[in-house]
């Protein structure tokens, strides 16, 4: 990204990094680099120059100082479950993998806070705080594998973010190592102590602002009562109108998720089967939580609404195993889709809820015209769509159809007043849509903000912003 020639990664750098973190934790052989060439969206591939796995925050700082000294670009990486080709580094860059920083440093049940290292796996945090009757709410479907650091960098969402908010609503402080190797504390356990919301600024920065090495999260009490309603529909439009009806009733469910028939077929064939009949056109998963009386009252409204909008069956799960089975089906859906075809392209876009039924029709039209299989599994409650295209990349016709389908769906979402990503980020995958989604002035501002954190443009270069989009590059006034 810098205009100065990027120095090739030399044997000398390998030696210097090995001295900092131990040679066992610097991966340089081609086979090892290949295992880091993709994230959860393997349609993008890039082999890093080196992979470094530091074991402590001081090692992270030392590595970043060294890289700054030598003008070497770097890319932070968590578990590599990202779905936008975000945690990929080019051959001239170092991939900084943070999974070894995986300690839960403190749990403070009284003030409902926990302090964790970035490599802690999302679900491990929830398990660790469960004995205090607490939970860490943001629950991306990938929660059994993805890291809190990755969640921070993508501002991850999850089914339960409809009611409780996405990651940014649950982080109160961050220790960040900036690209020059210096350390900055953003926020405080109580929240932002003064002035602008710097924690908020860092959330969703996709590895371009530096490395989060210590994260203070907000914990919530586990709801006293939880009820999960599972409704089968024979019409996709009917399921969408049920979603609108529930939201219009004023009830905010903890989660409101939809899977269409194509997705359901894959899930029911997997070990995470929900038990639904696969001739349903769509299923809705509605979760209500809170005080028992409130949950009962809401269920008394929601269940008739589902039926009135055409649900052919509604089952209610209250026991933990029953609920877990329904949720596993939903949360493992992307993976289950793997059985349909060798390759899968997962998309992510948000549209106004009212536009949902029309958009689903438009997606179906794209599917029929291009003759490809598209499955829908998504956070219906907040209009966050995930069309998933199954294909075989070894077939050039199919590979080309995927590119066309992605573009047409994105354009339809933008035309409906939506945005190009709900929770998976821009990364490599959505870069080209940025100028369509944002005015030049807004893009310039984003680049300026980035320069505050990373003046040399060495942190996760080549992501989010299309080449030459920022004013300084257009003017060519960089050194």
């Amino acid at each position: 990204m810098t205009t100065s020639p990027t120095p090739a990664l030399t044997a000398d750098l390998l030696g210097a990094l090995s001295r900092l973190v131990g040679s066992r934790w610097v991966r340089h052989r081609p086979a090892e680099l290949a295992t880091y060439a993709a994230d959860g969206l393997p349609t993008h591939e890039s082999r890093p120059g080196l992979v470094v796995l530091p074991g402590s925050r001081s090692e992270v700082a030392a590595v970043l100082s060294l890289l700054a000294e030598r003008h070497v670009p770097f890319v932070p990486r968590g578990a590599g479950t990202g779905l936008s080709g975000g945690a990929l580094a080019g051959g001239d860059a170092v991939l900084l993998t943070l999974t070894r920083l995986n300690r839960i440093l403190r749990i403070d049940p009284a003030s409902r806070r926990a302090v964790v290292e970035p490599g802690v796996i999302n679900a491990h945090l929830s398990q660790a705080v469960a004995r205090f009757g607490l939970q860490y709410v943001p629950d991306p479907s990938s929660q059994t594998a993805c890291t809190i650091g990755g969640n921070v960098a993508e501002n991850a969402g999850g089914p339960h973010c409809l009611k409780y908010g996405v990651t940014t609503n649950h982080i109160t402080a961050l220790e960040v190592i900036l690209p020059d190797g210096s350390t900055a504390t953003l926020g405080s356990p109580q929240g932002e102590p003064w002035g602008p919301d710097l924690v908020g600024l860092f959330l969703g920065s996709e590895g371009m602002f530096g490395v989060a090495v210590e994260i203070t999260v907000r914990l919530e009490p586990t709801p006293r009562d939880i009820r999960t309603l599972f409704a089968e529909f024979t019409q996709l439009r009917a399921a969408s109108s049920a979603v609108s009806a529930i939201i219009a009733s004023g009830i905010v469910p903890a989660a409101l998720e939809m899977m269409d028939q194509s997705c359901l077929e894959a899930v029911e064939a997997s070990i995470y089967a929900t038990g639904a009949r696969t001739d349903a056109a769509a299923v809705l998963l509605v979760e209500l939580d809170g005080a028992p009386e409130a949950v009962a009252a809401e269920a008394a409204v929601v269940e008739p609404l589902l039926r009135a909008n055409g649900a052919r069956s509604v089952t209610v799960a209250t026991s933990e195993p029953d609920r877990a089975r329904l949720w596993l089906g939903r949360k493992k859906a992307f993976g289950a889709l793997g059985r349909l075809a060798p390759d899968l392209a997962v998309q992510d876009a948000v549209v106004p809820r009212s536009a949902l039924p029309d958009l689903l029709d438009q997606i179906a039209a794209v599917r029929d015209r291009l003759g490809i299989r598209i499955s829908n599994v998504f956070h219906a409650g907040d209009g966050n769509l995930h069309p998933c295209i199954s294909f075989d990349r070894r077939d050039p016709r199919q590979a080309a159809a995927v590119v066309t389908a992605n573009r047409e769906i994105m354009e339809a979402c933008l035309a409906a007043g939506g945005s190009i990503t709900g929770e998976h980020g821009v990364g490599s995958d959505k870069r080209e849509y940025m100028p369509r989604a944002f005015q030049p002035a807004a893009l310039d501002l984003m680049c300026e903000v980035r320069r505050v954190f990373d003046p040399d443009g060495r942190a996760n270069p080549g992501k989010v912003f299309p080449a030459n989009v920022c004013r300084e590059w257009r003017r060519g006034d960089r050194q």
């Binding site: 934790w25 991966r27 052989r29 081609p30 086979a31 090892e32 290949a34 295992t35 880091y36 060439a37 993709a38 994230d39 959860g40 969206l41 393997p42 796995l53 578990a79 590599g80 479950t81 993998t97 999974t99 070894r100 995986n102 490599g119 796996i121 679900a123 491990h124 990938s142 059994t144 594998a145 993805c146 064939a269 997997s270 070990i271 995470y272 493992k332 859906a333 992307f334 993976g335 289950a336 889709l337 793997g338 059985r339 060798p342 390759d343 899968l344």
Partner: protein
């Protein structure tokens, strides 16, 4: 022979990462299932060759435990892919010297009988227990010491012979020489549950260790010998070692003959046969026990409930849930020998889980010789009083206490 099609469904989602003991130990994706699938696909395409040292290092470091398979929503057949990769590596560059030497011993009954006989002698003199400890060699003595019966006094009275289905006891190599007491317990408990156990001479090692290392020919040679020795006369072939059982059930695939498929269809783990009959309840055994599931039982054979049913037939036994009981202990055939460092890291996680249990169990029950030895040695090295036992040993003691043997 095989190919890598079982890996095709992989969509690179990463859900398998935290199910993998080696990834949890290093957190390095090169040591993860997804990373290894990338390596195997590169091997398939020819992008990496079978003698690439880094490729071999990370595929060798795979336990073959298949813990990643149930975590995969896409149904990737990791085990089959690994088998093919190891076959190709073995065919092109051969086995590592230590592996070749070890497998050579297992391949010839004179050799393993001598080696394990000497081992038993050291154990019975009490030397193994004396020398057990934490260093690499002392862990080895711990493994030997862990093969001793969980109780000094063994039931001696035989129960009345059963009249039900006939069962050929698969004796194996390690089981036959170091775990004779488990074979005795198997015969007694099966008889109490109505089976007629028949001794079949002329069997040898099952070949699982060869198969895992990529030496399918060595495995097939041993398989054919066992097939010939055991024949087709009994209703079932019973195995009390999960690792052997998994391969015996796979003889159809390994040997590719109709006879081998029929043979494989008659193979049962001892807990399957026992659970089919209840099993019959025994006398009270007031002990604290935690069950640790052998990978080759829960993943390879999909036998999950039956060992717990066996423990459930023992009145007074307090069975506790061991967190991570579905995760490999790092034994994995000859893995602990050829990959000692990684094996130790994985074992340490297991011992830590046992250490944090309250109450601390008297016994860890597990139905595979490798796991019994590995966990047993780990417990001794950590100075914990918890011991290891095969589930049928516990049932056997319970039957003795309940007066079932006369």
């Amino acid at each position: 022979m095989g190919d890598f099609t079982s890996l095709d469904p992989c969509v690179h989602c990463g859900f398998c990462l935290p199910a993998c003991p080696t990834y949890l130990a290093t957190r390095d994706e090169a040591d993860s299932p997804r990373g290894r699938i990338v390596l195997m696909r590169a091997l398939e395409r020819g992008d990496l060759s079978a003698d690439d040292p880094a490729l071999r290092q990370h595929l060798d470091a795979c336990l073959g435990c298949r813990g990643c398979e149930p975590a995969c929503p896409s149904g990737v057949g990791y085990g089959r892919g690994l088998e093919e990769a190891r076959r190709r590596i073995a065919a092109s560059v051969g086995l590592r010297p230590l592996a070749r030497l070890t497998l050579g011993v297992f391949g010839r009954s004179v050799a393993w009988r001598t080696a394990f006989g000497a081992g038993r002698w050291i154990r019975d003199l009490g030397l193994a227990k004396l020398l057990a400890g934490s260093g690499r060699a002392r862990l080895g003595f711990g493994m030997l010491a862990a093969t001793a019966p969980g109780r000094v006094r063994q039931p001696t009275l035989a129960p009345e012979a059963g009249t039900g289905p006939t069962v050929a006891l698969f004796r194996g190599c390690v089981m036959d020489t170091l775990f004779g007491h488990v074979h005795d317990a198997t015969r007694r408990t099966l008889a109490v549950n109505g089976y007629r156990v028949i001794e079949v001479p002329g069997q040898g090692c099952c070949g699982a260790l060869h198969d895992h290392a990529g030496d399918q020919e060595g495995a097939a040679r041993l398989g054919r010998a066992n097939l010939a020795a055991i024949g087709e006369t009994t209703d079932f072939i019973v195995v009390n070692s999960a690792g052997c059982g998994a391969l015996l059930k796979d003889y159809g695939h390994l040997l590719g003959t109709e006879a081998a498929r029929r043979f494989a269809g008659r193979v049962r783990d001892v807990t399957e046969l026992l659970a089919d009959r209840g099993p019959v309840t025994g006398g009270s055994l007031p002990l604290d026990v935690a069950y640790d599931a052998p990978c080759h039982l829960q993943h390879a054979q999909q036998v999950q409930r039956q060992p717990l049913a066996v423990l459930g037939a023992i009145p007074g036994l307090r069975v506790h849930q061991l967190p991570g009981s579905d995760r490999c202990c790092g034994s994995a055939g000859i893995y602990s020998l050829v990959e000692p460092a990684m094996s130790r890291m994985v074992l340490d996680d297991k011992i830590e889980a046992i250490r944090s249990l309250t109450p601390r169990p008297d016994f860890i029950a597990t139905g595979n010789p490798g796991c019994l030895m590995q966990i047993g040695a780990g417990l001794m090295a950590a100075g914990l009083a918890t011991r290891v036992a095969h589930p049928v040993e516990l049932l056997d003691w319970s039957y003795a206490a309940g007066g079932r043997y006369r």
